[in-house]
Symmetry: C2
Subunit: 457 residues, 2 copies
């Protein structure tokens, strides 16, 4: 029978479920700056490239096989593959694929990867309804806003507790975006958020397993289904996000309510989205960046006597593996990252194969890297000095790595990243057409043309 | 980037994910007493009757319409309906329907309603694979054991925090049961539990809305899909249940690990399952029971001057509504419950219509009930004295109500409860055949015959 003790309770929380629902349902189409709109296109492009790139990864194959048991109707695209599946399964599979490489976007304030849950649900639903690209971009901006704002409400306590925040806020973003795409009114959007609130997905304990990328996929599916249920009149608590036994207070001891609504409709969280240039943990990025810059100055590996690297303590704590044995271990080695930066000039998924990690020149160079902790170096920075065989000493200080908000990847960088992942799957010409379709999404009359390009010819 | 602070952490938890997986994969078929096996049949019967009974409720209709958007393959039965849907959707829909009336089973130690998530997933999967009834009963016993044992680990702190424990342990039970039904080995069963661990469903804030019954349905679907994924080699943390950032420690501050494995394979939690005789909150049951007993003594409503009822404080706190206006409010009125018990001799879903609640004789009798709090009366008890117009005073003390573990409903009671829900949907002859099929499930060569009977002719 009902117990009445509350572990914690703030019965006076503002009505954020209603306020966010009204915002999602009523905010005008393209009711933001061109910069925000362009960032939405960058977010979509980066998400799709990651999903296409991992289309044949073993985790994607296993998930597709499991979904196949359901004999899904061929409603929507599985990025990079010829198979089509029902829209809920497409949301699941594309959300999984987009996070497999850990190469997707990051809302730095909460470390949410917002596109996985939101865009995966939206593209699938839009394919079925024949929505315009403008409707998808609008829904993406609003869905990401809801997920990241709710993340701001509960982060970091929620993450510290052990939740994988991408999947535990993503279902809210997906529900909001899908509700917008379906044209639900504020009341039904509020119900969609409410139904989704009961379905947070993700434990940090799963990091390092296939269930980590499962989280954004399952969140995408949950949010999509929540919107479909709400459209049919399915009900939920109108205070599901903020009530004492509602989402925020159950999954977190921190509830900074003002984050849900501060500057709502004027500040958009998608503005603060970032994209990884390197397929590894973000703490290594400044060090890799320094080595890429060294290479750009014409320095070759054989000229290097040693590399003196000063880094924030977290770098060696998390990625201090001196002799990585395979590709996966390479992701946890700042030494391999530096070798990739100087010898190969990049560190995409391709630079983390077992073969590359064990290549003689890579091993030789990474052993020349002497990394030391320096408490004065910020988490976003790295200080490198390369001592060359001719006695020269070249100093490079990276305050903010490429891919940070301070030094964002250019559109060309993002397109190149996309090609690197997509060309092997779709072929270069189709990849190029797909990139062009992403940049033009906001003008597209129907997203189905873009979705078709995301499948092999 | 990764944070390393843990809110709480017990890194030395026993390996319960592995131990439970080994148990589920390796325990012998029918490796328990006849009493346990019979209880499993009672659990299945009660679950199916509830699901059939609510087949056309507005929540069931809305959920079916939402699922219909996916154009599901006709793989599995939606209890009580002609439509067939894919197995994941059938698990969802039957789980929802089985909890709509709040008339399903209760594992009293944790107030989990275990059959909804577990049986809903199992029947759907068994229909597709053509499993035998024995396999389903085995999987039901083991799945319920996993869900309720994990409930024992985290209850009551988890529930107090605001989680709806039926949906937040049910995905583990469904995953365990489906893994058993699929014949997964211990390693893959461990992965199934791990994948499911990331997907707890349910907030208590949703009570009173359609999202409450959504919880067991979504848990059923999540557990089923987790088992299908694990069969394909999808991976999860092998310590997903017990690790510091795993399930139990993230969703609860209480982790009584020994509950997971005490007497594992010798004590079965399904033995402690109970079934509601009355379609309302369990605190009212002793009072209704007393009035049913009064009726059995030949007393009629028109002979009653007044009814003096002494009850535990929770009864009036939760169900003290003196003048309920409609059926739903009737569920929160011990006064209406007493009137139903004496005038109608029962309090199934049919006795909670708007019409019955407002019937003149019902209103007249409920106003003669004088309920007072008596701290000496236990939560499971009620003390009633009926004062009749001829001056007689009849005293009835109910220590444990019908439906409790101490006074379980008989098999005949359960069959009558089933008929009351199912006859209006399937017709009496088909209902009777379905009841017989449930009692004989353990001997059935293929569950499909039973599933077919659960659809209209």
């Amino acid at each position: 029978m009902a117990r009445n003790t509350l572990v914690q309770a703030d019965p006076n929380a503002p009505p954020i479920t209603r306020l966010l629902a009204e915002f999602v349902a009523n905010h005008p189409s393209r009711g933001w700056s061109d910069a925000v709109d362009h960032e939405a296109h960058r977010t979509f492009l980066n998400w799709l490239g990651c999903a296409v790139g991992a289309a044949y990864h073993e985790a994607a194959e296993a998930a597709l096989a499991a979904v196949g048991v359901l004999q899904p109707a061929p409603q929507a695209t599985v990025a990079g593959r010829p198979e089509r599946v029902d829209i809920a399964s497409a949301a699941l599979l594309n959300g999984i694929a987009s996070h497999i490489f850990d190469f997707d976007d990051t809302h730095l304030k909460t470390i949410i990867h917002p596109a996985g849950p939101v865009a995966s649900a939206l593209l699938a639903l839009a394919e079925l309804t024949g929505a315009s690209g403008r409707q998808v971009i609008d829904a993406l901006v609003l869905g990401v806003d809801v997920a990241c704002r709710m993340g701001n409400v509960i982060y970091p306590e929620h993450y510290d507790r052990g939740w994988h925040i991408t999947g535990t806020t993503g279902m809210l973003g997906a529900a909001a975006g899908c509700a917008r795409l379906l044209g639900l009114d504020a009341g039904r959007t509020q119900m969609a958020l409410g139904i989704a609130a009961s379905q947070p997905v993700g434990l940090r304990e799963q990091f390092g397993t296939m269930t980590k990328p499962f989280h954004p996929g399952a969140a995408a599916r949950a949010g999509l289904m929540s919107a479909l249920l709400a459209r049919q009149g399915f009900t939920a608590s109108p205070r599901a996000l903020e009530a004492p036994r509602g989402f925020a207070q159950v999954v977190s001891d921190k509830s900074a309510w003002h984050e849900a609504t501060d500057e709502l409709g004027r500040r958009f969280e998608i503005s603060f989205n970032s994209y990884k240039p390197f397929a590894c943990g973000i703490v290594i990025h400044p060090s890799i960046d320094a080595c890429v810059q060294l290479r750009a100055q014409g320095v070759r590996a054989e000229q290097v006597e040693r590399i003196e690297l000063k880094v924030h303590p977290l770098v060696l704590e998390l990625t201090g593996k001196k002799e990585p044995a395979d590709g996966l271990q390479g992701k946890f080695s700042v030494y391999h990252g530096c070798a990739a930066g100087l010898i190969l000039g990049k560190a995409s998924e391709d630079e983390y194969t077992d073969e590359i990690v064990n290549r003689a020149d890579m091993v030789a160079l990474r052993r020349k890297v002497e990394a030391t902790v320096d408490e004065r170096i910020g988490e976003a920075s790295a200080d490198m000095a390369a001592v060359l065989t001719d006695g020269r000493r070249i100093h490079i200080f990276v305050e903010h790595a490429i891919g940070s908000l301070q030094r964002p990847m250019s559109d060309a960088d993002l397109a190149a990243k996309f090609s690197g992942m997509s060309d092997p799957v779709l072929g270069a010409p189709r990849s190029a057409a797909l990139i062009a379709a992403c940049w033009g999404l906001g003008e597209a009359a129907d997203v189905r043309a873009l979705a078709a390009l995301a499948r092999p010819a």
